[in-house]
Amino acid sequence: MISCQHATELMTTRELRPLTLFEMISLRMHTAICSACSTFEKQIASIKSAIMNEPDSVPGSEFINALERAIKERRL
C-alpha cells in the first residue's frame, strides 16, 4: 500500500506523463480506501478545471485605444 504522500505525487506525475499500469493500480487502490486522498484528487481536479475554463477577460477600452494611437504615431 502506497502512502498518502506518494499518492499525491503520482497525481502530479500523471499531469506530465501517463502512469505505468503498476502506478495506476497503486493509486486507484489507495484512493479507493483513503478519503483524504480521494478528496484531494477531487479538489485538485476542480482547481484545474477552474484554471482551464476561466472566461476570457476583456482588455480595458482605453488600453486598446491608446495602443492604436501609439502605433499610429510611432516612427518606423
Partner: protein, 198 residues
Amino acid sequence: MEIDATSELGNEDVASWVGLYGSELYAYAYRRIRSVENAEDVVQETFFAALKNVSSFRGESTPRTWLYTILRSKIIDFVRKAQRIEVSEHSSDDLDNLLFDDKGHWRSLAAPTSWQSPNTADPTESGFQDYINSCLAKLKPIPRTLLIMTYLDEVPAEEIRKEHEISASNYWVLLHRARHAMRLCIERQLAKEKESPL
C-alpha cells in the same frame, strides 16, 4: 484579412490590427499570465515588435497567426525576465513536512476534508474563480505560468522549463508544490469565508 504582398505595410496597417486582434491577444496573454498590467505589457510589446518588423512580414501567414507567434515569444520572454527562483532538488521538503508525517500519512490538520461551501460545487461559479485568481497571484511567476501552461497543455511550458534550465525533476517539484500550494490557499480562503459570513 487579405494582404497584398506587393504593397508596403505601415503604421496604419499595424494600428488596424490592434483594433482587429488586440482584444483576443490580450485575452490569450491574460489567461496565461493572470495579471492585467503584465498582460497589457506583453501585448504592447507584441505590437511594437510587429511594427518594427512589419517589412519582413510578407503575408505568408495571416497577420493574426504572425501576431500570435510574436505574442508567444513575448510571454516566454516575460517569464524569463521574471524573478529567477532557486529550485533545489530538495525544495519540497518543507511542504512535505507541513503536510505529511515521516510515514507519508497526512498530518491531522493538513488532511483534505470536503469543501462544503456552495461556491465550490461549480468551479465556473464566480466566487470560486475569484479565489483561484487570488491564489494564482500568490504564486511566483514561474511556478504560476508553468502550472497554467501545463494545464492548458501547451508547448511553451516545456520551452520555459528549458529556457530556465529547470531540470525535468525540478519542473515536477515546482508543479507538485504549486498544486499543493493552490489547494491549501483555496482551503484557507474558504475557511475565512466560513468565519466571517457576509
